[in-house]
Amino acid sequence: MAAIYSLYIINKSGGLIFYKDYGLQGRMDTNDSLRLASLWHSMHAISQQLSPIPGCAGIELLEADTFDLHCFQSLTGTKFFVVSEPGTQNMENLLKHIYELYTDYVLKNPFYEMEMPIRCELFDINLAQAIQKDRVSYLGR
């Protein structure tokens, strides 16, 4: 039973550049995933405006009855968010680690065009390893 259901990466304009599904439902339709990503981008932006205190960095955690959504936004505007089982621990560290993998295997690839969908095999491989390691440590608890 995976603790993580899916991972999304959105560029600074709100476009989906990476989507990976780990759940049992099967992969979401491409158009649906694009729509969901744009929706999340908008909600994130709106939450910053809604905040009563200035300088809000946006939604970090969304808790629903059947899932949690953890979101990390870099200072450059790229958002990494993961949909997981309710109560999953350690997602912030996982997201930070994925951010590091992104900077290494995506951004350093000279043939990767900025803001475009990610099609980097090295990133996929290392990401799978990171998720697997997280899953193993989760099961070990």
Binding site: S42, A45, T76, T103
Partner: protein
């Protein structure tokens, strides 16, 4: 969860993979020589180096943010300090000092203690207008643009041109925060 503490430039530099310094210097020298051969005009080469630096900078900034854990800088002064102490140290292995602040706090100079790009380099008379290290100005400009700061970065003093130090002037033109995507209908 306790917030991650920003790491010092030395700590990160010790942890990243490093490359032979001479290989780095020679590779950069080869790039500049090839650009001079291809473009012939010194001004064109300066522009190309800046553009190449810009393309590096827009990608480098995310790695910098990921590995150094710096939080959002409060003002431009802090930004300059972070670039000089953490950024330069992390990627070039040298620190810079920040001086010459103007009254508004939007313009400063970064003085490099040491410059690994220029080891063994002497500029010939035919290339006197060349800013050999112009890639660095592009890198700083590109990196800052990705964190919503439009800047102008120029070399004020260049030891290859006879000055006594490497001084990079960084001028903040404007802050361009992300636009709120839903404006009220006008």
């Amino acid at each position: 969860m306790a917030p991650a503490v920003p790491r010092s430039g030395d700590a990160i530099f010790a942890n990243v993979e490093r490359v032979n310094a001479e290989l780095f210097t020679l590779t950069y020298g080869a790039i500049v020589r090839q650009l001079l051969t291809d473009l012939e005009e010194v001004e064109e080469v300066n522009k190309q180096l800046d553009q190449m630096g810009y393309n590096i900078g827009i990608r480098l900034i995310d790695e910098f943010l990921a590995k150094s854990n710096v939080t959002r800088c409060v003002d431009f002064r802090e930004t300059a300090e972070v670039i000089a102490k953490v950024g330069f140290k992390m990627f070039l292995g040298v620190t810079a000092s920040v001086t010459n602040w103007d009254t508004e706090g939007t313009c400063c100079s970064l003085i490099l203690d040491d410059n690994p790009l220029v080891d063994f380099v002497e500029l010939p008379d035919t290339c006197q207008g060349l800013y050999y290290c112009n890639i660095l100005s592009g890198v700083v400009r590109g990196a800052l643009e990705m964190v919503s700061m439009k800047t102008e970065v120029t070399w004020v003093r260049d030891m290859l041109r006879g000055d006594d130090a490497f001084e990079l002037q960084v001028k903040l033109l404007k802050q361009v925060p992300e636009e709120y995507p839903y404006k009220d209908d006008e």
